[in-house]
């Protein structure tokens, strides 16, 4: 029982990441009609915003180590600690959550530049060309990060206060202890909030409603004299922010490296296809569903029956869904079918 609960929780936080990336991906599909293979790179850029901020905050200087009295010893101390003492070290400790504040404007900027500079010129070109040019962009971005940060994963830590594990037995009222890292719980909560924000933006603001109308029927919206292209830029920016935030918050769970964008991209595409291209609720549902499935497939009991199932489950589901329900779980007719 508790093993299953733990798997569910494990699946949910991974599902949260899938859902966030897939949400932006499908938002861009649905509105701009662009297949963005560089979306995983946005996730990766977000993660490296956190890495960069942490590096900047912990810029250090060599000072004499006072605790060693026998001889002259030196240690690296961050400037922040020197200047602000405990407050400074707390700031460094909280660098990952703090990165969110930086990531929002930065990812928006990156998204807008990307849309204006490149994606815009591909609206009317074939999907194959869109895939190819964004694939090229993804390679360029990941190689730049590799040059800047090296090839090795760079672990990030959670703030000390929430570095431990929660005991889920309290929450679910089960006798045995189920320990589960706080941060993963926070990630799940965070992804739900971000998803909620995106949906409320699309449903409760006029701006969002126009965007949704554009998703359903672009021509009519344009006939109404609304400059939909300007809104597309913002939509792309929002998708970039969502992917970036997903990346920032994922750093303590998975140490970021330059490969992570591509890895998550492939899975998120599968998520989008399973959910149904152009369907936002579909992307979210499929994200969590595939996260859960993957988590269950990783259980030893399951792996004993179907060896290797954890390696292929997500792709297998995608193949089955695409063949039985070509439009995905919640897909609409006529999206991306030409």
């Amino acid at each position: 029982m508790d093993a299953i609960l733990l798997q569910i929780m494990n699946g949910l936080d991974k599902g949260g990441a899938y859902a966030l990336i897939a949400l932006g991906l499908t938002l861009v599909f649905g509105t701009l009609g662009v297949v963005n293979f560089a979306h995983g790179a946005l996730f990766m850029l977000g993660a490296f915003v956190a890495v960069t901020l942490n590096k900047l905050l912990s810029l250090s200087v060599r000072v004499k180590d006072e605790s060693v009295t026998m001889f002259d010893a030196y240690k690296e101390t961050p400037y922040l600690e020197l200047w602000f003492g405990d407050v400074g070290s707390q700031v460094i400790n909280w660098s990952v959550p703090l990165s969110i504040l930086i990531a929002i404007p930065l990812m928006l900027l990156i998204g807008v530049v990307m849309e204006r500079g490149l994606i815009r010129h591909f609206y009317r070109r074939s999907h194959a060309e869109q895939i190819l040019v964004t694939f090229g962009l993804a390679i360029v971005l990941q190689e730049i990060l590799k040059l800047m940060f090296g090839a090795n994963p760079i672990p990030q830590s959670t703030p000390d206060v929430i570095s431990g594990s929660a005991d889920l037995s309290m929450i679910f009222g089960i006798g045995e202890t189920i320990s589960y890292p706080w941060w993963r719980l926070i990630y799940l909560l965070f992804s739900l909030i971000v998803i909620g924000l995106v949906f409320s933006f699309l449903h409760f603001t006029t701006y969002g409603m126009v965007v949704r109308a554009g998703m359903a029927d672009r021509e009519t919206v344009e006939l109404l004299g609304i400059n939909i292209e300007k809104r597309f830029t913002i939509v792309f920016g929002i998708a970039a922010i969502v992917a970036g935030l997903a990346g920032v918050m994922y750093t303590p769970i998975l140490p970021p490296d330059y490969h992570m964008g591509m890895e998550f991209l492939v899975i998120s595409f599968v998520v989008v296809v399973v959910g149904g291209m152009g369907s936002l609720p579909g992307a979210v549902a499929a994200g969590f569903l595939l996260g859960l499935l993957h988590s269950f497939a990783s259980m030893t009991a399951v792996k004993d029956i179907f060896p290797g199932i954890d390696q292929i489950i997500i792709y297998l589901v995608a193949v089955v869904i695409l063949l039985t329900r070509p439009r995905g779980l919640l897909g609409r007719r006529g999206v991306m079918e030409s």
Partner: protein, 387 residues
């Protein structure tokens, strides 16, 4: 290229002869480019075959596959198993590798070709990822996991035993009836295969079959209302294309008898797409050109380092040379992939037809320029006469 279909058999024969001559003399004419050593020449052939096969699918039917690396990998594994179980002779290995990836292509094609466009791309990607992940995990008895599949002294090699070929004390190397497939011999084996498969590709391009494939790319709905069942056309092409990839994979094993799963990674699939686009999808010779150029520059660029750049720019003042070298240093050595990505983007943005389109444009420009000059000189003459 529009009238390429109507090239006469005589023209095609000349084309093939010139092509074969160019391929077989590569060790000579690539000398001044510093590319005439066997390892690189073999790569030109192997990736050329892969790209030609990929182009049959993508260039003719427009179906964008992101899973061709899987066929490449299967070809390699099958070939190494043929070395281990049957014989060190390259012929069974090549046949076995090609047939195995062909069979895999039948399965993958049967499933993936139910969908088109982006769905097809993702389905093929899903299959390739499955193959890659399985090669690393459950299929370790077949693939030997991360270490990669290698030959060993204890391999049975049934056919070799039957024909009384003695096991040597050192590890055996693949051979063609006793001629080793290492070095230049390896290149010539690959070159022979290349000429054969290029000829097949030429036949497909020239035939009504090829025309129908291009029609499918152009408008599949119309094809169906014109009386064609498009599925078997696509299926045949997909399998042929997969077999080309398997053949390339088995040649990799022929020239270097080990197989690893990294060859199945989807970035490897991406590389094939890159070669085809760079050279010119849908043209006969373009993909081969693309493969050659990428492999050539990969070889040069990744060998470069900053010191070499400093030497190259030593004619500049020191501070300037340092700056230039540091900047260019980003794009060579480890930065080679960055260059590749940038070039690829530029090609897709400005020259979607690839280098073949570029060459055609230049050719037109030259002809146009000459035409104009003739015209000008004539009118100058005329005005001179008037005066």
């Amino acid at each position: 290229m529009i009238n390429a279909n109507l090239a006469s058999p005589r023209q095609d024969l000349i084309y093939m002869l010139v092509f074969s001559a160019v391929i077989l003399t590569m060790p000579l004419w690539l000398q001044p480019f510093g590319a005439a050593y066997p390892g690189l020449l073999q790569k030109f052939m192997i990736f050329g075959i892969l790209a030609i096969g990929y182009n049959l699918l993508f260039g003719l039917t427009g179906y964008l596959s992101f899973g061709h690396a899987a066929f490449l990998g299967i070809g390699s594994y099958a070939a190494v198993w043929s070395f281990k179980l049957l014989s060190m002779n390259v012929i069974p290995a090549i046949i076995f590798g090609t047939v195995m990836s062909g069979l895999f292509a039948v399965v993958v094609g049967y499933v993936c070709l139910r969908r088109a466009g982006i769905y097809f791309a993702i389905l093929t990607l899903a299959f390739a990822q499955m193959a890659y992940n399985l090669a690393y995990s459950v299929l370790t008895p077949i693939t030997n996991g991360e270490t990669g599949l290698q030959l060993s002294q204890q391999d049975p090699r049934i056919l070799d035993r039957m024909f009384g070929i003695e096991a040597t004390s050192s590890l055996p190397f693949p051979n063609l009836f006793g001629i080793t497939s290492a070095g230049f011999y390896g290149f010539y084996i690959c070159a022979a295969v290349m000429i054969i498969v290029f000829f097949i590709a030429l036949r497909i391009f020239r035939s009504s079959f090829g025309l129908k494939l291009r029609a499918i790319k152009s408008n599949q709905t119309r094809m169906s209302y014109t009386g064609y069942n498009t599925r078997p056309f696509l299926m045949t092409t997909f399998v042929i294309s997969g077999m080309y990839a398997g053949l390339a994979g088995s040649l990799m094993a022929v020239t270097d008898p080990l197989a690893g799963a990294e060859r199945m990674q989807w970035t490897a699939s991406g590389e094939v797409v890159l070669m085809t686009i760079l050279g010119g999808a849908g043209t006969l010779i373009g993909p081969l050109l693309g493969a050659g150029i990428i492999k050539y520059f990969e070889n040069i660029f990744s060998a470069f380092n900053e010191n070499m750049l400093m030497d190259a720019f030593s004619f500049l003042p020191d501070w300037m040379a340092e700056g230039v070298a540091a900047f260019l240093g980003l794009f060579v050595g480890d930065g080679w992939h960055l260059t590749l990505g940038l070039v690829f983007m530029l090609i897709v943005i400005f020259l979607p037809g690839g280098m073949m389109e570029g060459l055609q444009r230049i050719w037109k420009l030259i002809r146009h320029g000459r035409h104009k000059r003739d015209h000008q000189s004539k009118s100058q003459q005329a005005s001179a006469e008037e005066a």
